[in-house]
Subunit: 712 residues, 2 copies
């Protein structure tokens, strides 16, 4: 790639970003778009939907930037919890890292690279048509002692990142602990989830839970709730909801039509259909009630239960100890927050959970590895001949050069992007059937999956030009990995620089503009009434964290190979900094609170990036015939991994469970609290399967017959 | 190797075994050898040392074989605890496995191998001079469908071993649990060890332990004992012991001389030296007492303490929970039995322990990998020219053909054997500085180390002809491992068959004959008095378990390659069965009781052997151009590893800690036990550093001045 091409790309994408920003600044002021751009403020009542038209609405303003900039960490914490803080700290961590690496890269490494003359065909005068490779390490002469500069940079930046990682981990750990100390009594601290409860022929599951825990923890056991099999009820409830939506839709339509088109024949039939659907809705609700009654009485018990304790310490004890003589029975987990529970997956026994986990891991690995094969096949269909055979009517259009260029140039990359869009939901689905019990666990697991997927299918697939076979051959030949990476990675430097500009900048500004929700809202607007309930979206951590981390990986691996990538990355992170803060204020509301459990994923990803960078460095120095530097780089990955191991021992346990010391401290605080009796009463009712809650959409109130149902 | 050579080897070794057996049968009846052959009975008082001479003492008898044969598992359990039972079950497990594999191997695979004619140069008539390779899989024709017989055998035997492994694990788990249920209250069930206690400027370690645990576990915390730095005292105590031995020796000598050689001039000086040494002993003892006083008063506290609880459940809770907000402080471990504690290594902090562990792992890996280099160099010195240069006086002897043959033929293997003898103590030493807190942990860790050492330095070094470089190249090229193993492993079949005969049979019969203790006892007999105390040896598990497991590995990997190995292995295991049972009755007394914790090591070793066998099978079938069989073998290692993973989940937790259910059950049994008060009182004094116990060897009783010391 030549410099001018890069400049063009930068120009186009800057223009796009400016366009997005301007459009956003205008559109967010239109009340009709409040649902898309400030849903959070809307539900909080800070913004009103209806207000008079003003001219200033049409003038773009940058006030939101200032507002986002001024947001302090404490405000962010109160807005989005510790997870939001962790997300933003990931971005500020990257900013710090790449500012430091950028100074070294631009002012030290870049001149060294340019002064080399390994690549002969360089014309200094014609700067714009120079290959970008001039700025990469490839241009440094083989065996040149200038490579020691790169060597030192690798050591210095690694040291800097490790120190930063250590202090970040320490800071977030202490935040997590102080957050725990300052929190109100919360149901999930007093609760554990028990699954794989052995079935006994004599009594119900509930009886055996009762006798088991009251025997083992007589002083701390409080109560329990057995999980029930509610798959069928759940689908009926969903059906009722849909039906209710339809009925309300029809009703409002018929009212409107009554006002406008009096006496038309369509009216009568519409009225009829309203009655028909209302009847049907009533039937379904009746059915739901019957099934709920059935589930609560006949004992459709799953082999899992939420067990409540009188103290946090009691719950933690029960979680940490192996309960039963048979370690595959009475398995305990920390309970998630009540609204974070993922209800559909409770009926699993130990073996089923284990097997489903294995199957998901297998499917996920296969999916990640062979993902590119169907994509390449579909992309193959977009060559002109194929298209003309499939869609003969296109022949005339495709003969026009402009169209054919668009089709061949953009269609393949469009297809790839569409397929990639499917990955986060697919991974979330896979995680959801893996046996996790909470939405937050599912999302964390999906984050990890998406991250590895991206590293494999974007980084390695690009570096090894997409041939799975050659990727495998490299992996199966560990001796030659550094050598092969050293040849392949720098060759793709210019690709990844443009990747940062095109994918990074665009993705983050389309995040601001919320392209898809915006389009969706435009399409559905005619069909939805203004008074419809709408949900505030939750931050899609499993989509955004892997993306940001992937840019971090690009930065760390390329900073000494092609320092030119760093300014573009810094621009990306600056944009991300402002935009995500803005989204936390206006758009996303936290759905659950993991209290910072995402940080270990971020930490591990950084360590992986570092080690990958070291492996490439070992290969590069060997390739450049500076074998001493190559040998001296080898201790670096070992030291990094030891550092990681230390962090695992020092900090990771804090993210798994709370310590006895802090649990006892919190319990002691509550001892003299009069409200605890009330809390215990609520605790027992906190974990209710939503499918078992009474539903009442239809207007026929006689249906609320049995008082039993509402207690079920 | 040809058949006749094998037969010769078998003949020689059978004769050796018979000789050992006969000698043992005679020598064990001589009262002077009781210390070597029946030390256990001697201390138990079942055998008396002095008895009149009888003729039948000189006639070999096989009564001990019958006695060993009749020993039931319950008797063995009462003699040597669960560890002895686990050891014997390892042998019976191997016997069952190789009987089953032997039937398939000898009656199915061996004929198939012989009927092949891949190896052309076979003369059926001249059976004795046939190469042993005729009996191996190498003789089956390439692409022959008879290989499916081997394929089925691999599947059947794997299935058989896995089922057996499952039931063994299950049986030993249940034994372990029922042993726990039936045990008396034992100090180590009520105790945990805490280390990495943070130092505070305000108070002593003891104070902070007291306040920390009484705050966290107010209802179950009983008391604690802080470990003290006693390295110096320990060496002084050892010095005192040596001195005492010397004094008693001199004293008894001088008494004897008084009786026999009255008036000799030597007598006077000897008496003088007795007085001199007694004075010195007194000085040392005084010094020890001073230091002990110092340690107990001035607070030479290590950052570790034994913490006692009122119930097993309380101790287990404290062990399982993370104590401190900082996970590297207040780290808890299950306490070992009081006499099993390894006192020298308590002063370590978290970082020190971690670093020493890393260093030991590194040293151990290096030692294992490069062990053969010095051995090969030393062996190189034994070629004739080198010897004649080093020791010119040998020239005349070495010209005699017989001597030169012995030197060149046996010296290298003798050197290798001597070096190998050093491995178990070396590994035990390495484990002891790794930070383990008990002798049993050290021995378990040493077992694992010795096992991997043997697998690498005997199995892989032989297979790849001892070149470390080629071994590494193979490991670093995972794709070709099956292929390389498939070529190299069958080629060494005859070597390993003779290895079983020479090393296996000899090692186990020299175990019976106790060659080294016997020689040692002959040498030291003139210098020791008959009334000297002697220690009953403890079973050297870290030496014997890896050896038996290695023969298991040979059996599993070679059963389908060279079934001829199986009868010899069976003979080995039969010998081991009888001999080890005899040793458990007569020789070894258990020093500690891990309650079967060795079994997971045995299980893992079997799984490793199976997977290695599968990898070889994949390679062999590919080499023999039966790629379908090769492909169909690939699921087998995956299934085996999944089976292992299941076993880890199902059984391993039982070997780590006891479950809440069983702890509570035991605690409840004790609730109404009147002796528990007494037990609690003893508990606090159970964990005493032996270096801090009062010593009194000298006859000067005034030295027992301070009552403080005995309480320290």
């Amino acid at each position: 790639m030549i410099v001018s091409a890069l400049l063009t790309s930068v120009g186009i994408n800057t223009a796009l970003c400016v366009l997005f920003f301007t459009l956003y600044s205008i559109l967010r002021k239109q009340p009709s778009n409040y649902e898309v751009y400030v849903p959070r403020l809307l539900t909080e009542g800070t913004s009103k939907r209806r207000s008079r038209f003003k001219l200033e609405r049409l003038i773009p303003s940058a006030g939101w930037v200032a507002k986002a900039w001024r947001l302090s960490e404490e405000e962010l914490f109160s807005l989005s919890g510790l997870d939001g803080v962790v997300f933003m700290r990931m971005i500020t961590f990257s900013l710090k890292t790449f500012t430091f690496a950028g100074i070294i890269g631009i002012f030290v490494l870049l001149p060294v690279n340019c002064w080399g003359n390994q690549l002969k065909d360089i014309d200094i005068a014609d700067f714009v048509n120079n290959s970008l490779d001039v700025f990469t390490i490839s241009n440094v002469n083989s065996g040149s002692h200038w490579l020691w500069v790169h060597f030192s940079a690798v050591y210095i930046v690694t040291g800097f990142i490790c120190i930063l990682l250590f202090y970040e981990y320490k800071y977030i750990s202490s935040r997590r602990i102080s957050y725990f100390y300052s929190s109100e009594p919360q149901p999930h601290h007093f609760t554990i989830l028990v699954h794989s409860i052995p079935t006994s022929s004599s009594g119900s599951i509930s009886d055996s839970v009762q006798s088991f825990f009251s025997e083992l923890y007589p002083s701390t056991y409080l109560s329990h709730v057995v999980v029930r099999r509610t798959g069928k009820i759940r689908s009926l409830v969903n059906e009722a909801k849909k039906m209710y939506k339809r009925v309300t839709q029809l009703r409002s339509d018929s009212t409107q039509q009554k006002n406008t088109q009096r006496g038309f024949p369509g009216l009568f039939s519409r009225k009829n259909s309203v009655i028909y659907y209302e009847k049907k809705l009533e039937d379904i609700e009746e059915n739901v009630r019957l099934k709920q009654l059935e589930a609560s009485l006949a004992g459709e018990e799953a082999r899992a239960a939420f067990v409540f304790f009188k103290s946090r310490f009691g719950a933690a004890t029960a979680f940490h100890l192996q309960q039963s003589v048979n370690p595959t029975h009475w398995i305990t987990e920390l309970a998630p927050e009540p609204h974070d529970v993922y209800w559909p997956f409770f009926s699993e026994s130990f073996m089923r959970r284990w097997i489903s986990k294995l199957v998901v891991v297998l499917v996920c690995t296969t999916f990640t590895i062979v993902f590119l094969i169907p994509v390449v096949i579909v992309q193959g269909l977009t060559n002109l001949n194929q298209l003309e055979i499939l869609f003969p009517f296109l022949t005339s259009i495709l003969t026009i050069k402009f169209f054919s260029q668009i089709v061949t140039g953009y269609l393949p990359s469009l297809i790839l992007q569409l397929f990639l869009k499917l990955v986060p939901p697919a991974m979330e689905f896979l995680s959801s059937i893996q046996g996790y019990i909470s939405h937050s666990d599912i999302e964390m697991s999906a984050s990890r999956k998406v991250l590895w997927f991206t590293v494999w299918n974007v980084f390695f697939a690009t570096v090894f030009s997409g041939s799975i076979l050659s990727m495998f051959n490299t992996l199966l030949d560990p001796k030659n990995i550094p050598g092969k990476l050293a040849v392949a990675v720098p060759a793709q430097a210019s690709f990844f620089i443009t990747y940062v500009v095109t994918q990074g900048w665009t993705s983050v500004s389309s995040e601001l503009f919320r392209v898809i929700p915006f389009i969706f809202s435009w399409i559905t607007r005619p069909f939805t009434s203004q008074d419809d309930e709408f949900e505030v979206p939750s931050t899609p951590y499993h989509k955004d964290i892997p993306r940001v981390l992937f840019f971090g990986l690009l930065g760390i691996t390329y900073f000494f190979l092609a320092p030119l990538i760093l300014p573009f990355l810094l621009a990306y992170f600056c944009l991300a900094y402002i935009i995500f803060r803005n989204q936390f204020i206006n758009v996303y509301a936290p759905k659950y609170d993991t209290a910072g459990k995402f940080w270990p994923i971020i930490h591990n990803s950084m360590i992986f990036s570092l080690v990958l960078m070291h492996i490439i460095a070992v290969g590069i120095f060997a390739l450049k015939k500076l074998s001493l530097a190559s040998t001296l780089t080898m201790p670096l990955p070992v030291l990094t991994l030891l550092f990681n191991e230390y962090c695992r021992k020092r900090f990771l346990p804090i993210f798994v469970a709370y310590s006895a010391e802090s649990l006892k401290k919190k319990d002691r605080q509550d001892q003299n609290d009069a409200t605890m009796t009330q809390f215990y009463e609520n605790l027992v009712n906190a974990y209710k399967d939503p499918a078992l809650l009474p539903i009442q959409h239809s207007q026929n109130n006689d249906n609320l017959r049995s008082p039993l149902i509402s207690q079920a």
